[in-house]
């Protein structure tokens, strides 16, 4: 039969719809009260708690002999935590929820390309991640008087560590979204993973104080490297000697995070389906 020829959809719509998805995702993200609190504001809340709780202590001195405050010491760690929360934790819980509440089933019946959906998710993480980092930096600088670096090369390092970190974290979140069996169990499955990673990767506890075997174990995962990259940007240069191997080791920050990015993409490509056809 030759009566029906299927009209082709216009080219370039994957990107156009991706942009449309980003707007939609960002809008709905900020209307979801719990995600705003637990992923968006959480690092700020933690930075505030640490800064206030340890306000009487100093965390070493910079090369000029100035004391390093708790806020200064924890700022890079909270930026790294923000990458993990906005990306991995938020994505994995969000998509697991959309799987079980029928959102993805609805998409499966429309001509929305999967890639546009991914662009929307990653775009949402990027936008909220940037706002989150900007807010953290602003509060740290204004409220807690954290001296921010003046050297352009440090900001360059920040830009690539942040971008690579946030996108890797988002992709890993999409990859992990298949793990929870239902939307209801998603928080119970994902939050412990994120929490354990934060504790062993030098976010809440100083990485140098962890036993060597735990350091080696944590070095498999990207969060340790993202946190290290952030320390390279924001801590005084004399802190480099405290790092494992006595170096910020930015080459490995890029390498390990990059490997996880590729790995995440492969898992997404292989495992993501709008719906499980015969469940």
């Amino acid at each position: 039969m030759s009566t029906t020829t299927i009209p082709r959809l216009p080219a370039g719509r994957t990107l156009r719809l991706g942009a449309s998805r980003i707007r939609y995702e960002v809008k709905t993200y900020f209307r979801q009260g719990d995600s705003v609190f637990f992923t968006f504001l959480f690092p700020l809340v933690m930075l505030t708690i640490f800064s206030v709780a340890f306000s009487e202590q100093t965390f070493g001195q910079d090369p000029d002999g100035n004391d390093v405050s708790a806020a200064s010491f924890y700022l890079p760690a909270m930026l790294a935590a923000g990458l993990l929360l906005s990306g991995l934790q938020n994505m994995a819980i969000d998509i697991a929820g959309e799987k079980s509440d029928g959102t993805l089933k609805r998409f499966a019946g429309t001509p929305l390309p999967v890639l546009s959906y991914f662009i929307g998710k990653i775009g949402q993480v990027l936008v909220t991640g940037i706002l989150q980092a900007a807010l953290l930096l602003a509060v740290a600088a204004i409220a807690f008087r954290v001296p921010l670096p003046a050297e352009p090369e440090r900001w360059f390092t920040f830009a690539w560590v942040f971008l690579l970190g946030v996108i890797t974290s988002a992709v890993l979140g999409i990859a992990l979204s298949g793990l929870p069996r239902s939307g209801k169990s998603a928080t119970a499955v994902i939050i412990p993973i994120a929490l354990v990673l934060q504790f062993i990767s030098g976010v809440y506890l100083g990485f140098a104080q962890l036993p060597e075997w735990l350091q080696n174990f944590a070095s498999i995962f990207p969060l340790k490297w993202m946190a290290q990259g952030m320390r390279a940007v924001f801590l005084p240069s004399n802190y480099e000697s405290v790092e494992v191997g006595g170096s910020w080791d930015l080459a490995n920050v890029a390498l390990v995070t990059g490997i996880w990015f590729v790995l995440g993409l492969v898992v997404c490509r292989l495992t993501f389906r709008w719906i499980r056809k015969d469940s």
Binding site: L9, R16, Y24, T28, G102, T103, R106, T110, L112
Partner: protein, 291 residues
């Protein structure tokens, strides 16, 4: 009818889940512009059949074509020509009615006007309300609106009016009639037999994974099932007689010159015929099991 006219064509469709047979050799066609109602009790296989045609499930065996394409392999071009109203979903609904429809309209190459659709489903006053704040019936209307925003050639309606009040149901019927008049082909499943009778051109009845009857709505069950009943009360006992000549029967009751008590002539409704067919089928199945 030629195959070129068939928008949906299903032949000997089977679906098994492990040892359970959900569909056991179902065959039917839906012609262009037709509204076809698929009826049947819960668990009879209606949803399995419709989900195979929507591309949500794979079939075990048999043939299926939807708009000339195998629904198991239909791509985005194919999906752009379908409208799917699923059974109700539980999405978070953090967008307004207008935002949601505007966003989904962007998915389709030739979508309808958002304002028109909002008016057609009667949600003008709720256009700027978040979907999660709507009532169940109103959310259902948003589902229907999302199903038709892309100007589909074929519209799947899976129990579309569940949770509607009678007035909304009638408005919905009006909307479906206007889609029909524009030439939209519709596959409808419903538990409301009056709805199938109001909207359907033809219907198929599925029970136990089999199509037990198919035809024009007014032909279902055959002549036999449509024979009117004359019912009256005589000496305190309710009597009834199935007859093709109700007038003659009534006249014969009048021989004593006395008006019969509680006299009525009943033509079986679609619901009576449907229930008759389904219970016949179940009785036959029980016999099979015993034998």
């Amino acid at each position: 009818m030629t195959t070129a006219d068939a928008i949906v064509s299903v032949k000997d469709l089977r679906k098994t889940y492990g040892k359970v047979t959900a569909l056991n050799g179902v065959t039917f066609d839906i012609r262009r512009g037709e509204t076809f109602a698929l009826l049947g009790p819960n668990g009879a296989g209606k949803s399995t059949a419709i989900e195979i045609l929507e591309g949500y499930r794979d079939r075990t065996s048999g043939d299926a074509t939807v708009l000339g394409v195998d629904p198991g392999t239909g791509g985005l071009d194919w999906k752009a020509r379908l409208g799917i109203v699923l059974q109700s979903t539980g999405e978070s609904g953090n967008v307004t009615v207008r935002e949601q429809l505007t966003h989904f309209a962007g998915y389709y190459p030739n979508s309808r006007s958002v304002a028109e659709i909002i008016a057609a489903v009667g949600l003008e006053e709720k256009a700027t309300t978040l979907i999660r704040k709507l009532s169940g019936g109103q959310r259902r209307r948003v589902d229907v609106a999302l199903g038709i925003i892309g100007r589909p050639e074929l519209l799947f309606l899976d129990e579309p009016t569940t949770g509607f009040d009678p007035e909304s149901r009638r408005q919905f019927w009006q909307l479906i009639r206007s889609l029909k008049s524009e030439g939209t082909t519709i596959l409808l499943t419903t538990h409301y037999l009056d709805e199938a009778a109001q909207l359907g051109d033809r219907a198929g009845i599925i029970a136990g994974g089999k199509l037990i009857d198919i035809g024009q709505i007014h032909e279902l069950g055959g002549e036999e099932a449509r024979v009117p009943l004359v019912r009256w009360r005589q000496d305190g006992v309710l009597r009834e007689e199935r007859t093709t000549e109700p007038g003659r029967v009534v006249a014969s009751l009048m021989t004593g010159g006395r008006e019969p008590d509680e006299l009525e002539i009943v033509r079986p409704s679609l619901e009576d015929i449907y229930l008759g067919l389904v219970s016949q089928h179940e009785a036959a199945r029980e016999l099979e099991t015993v034998a």
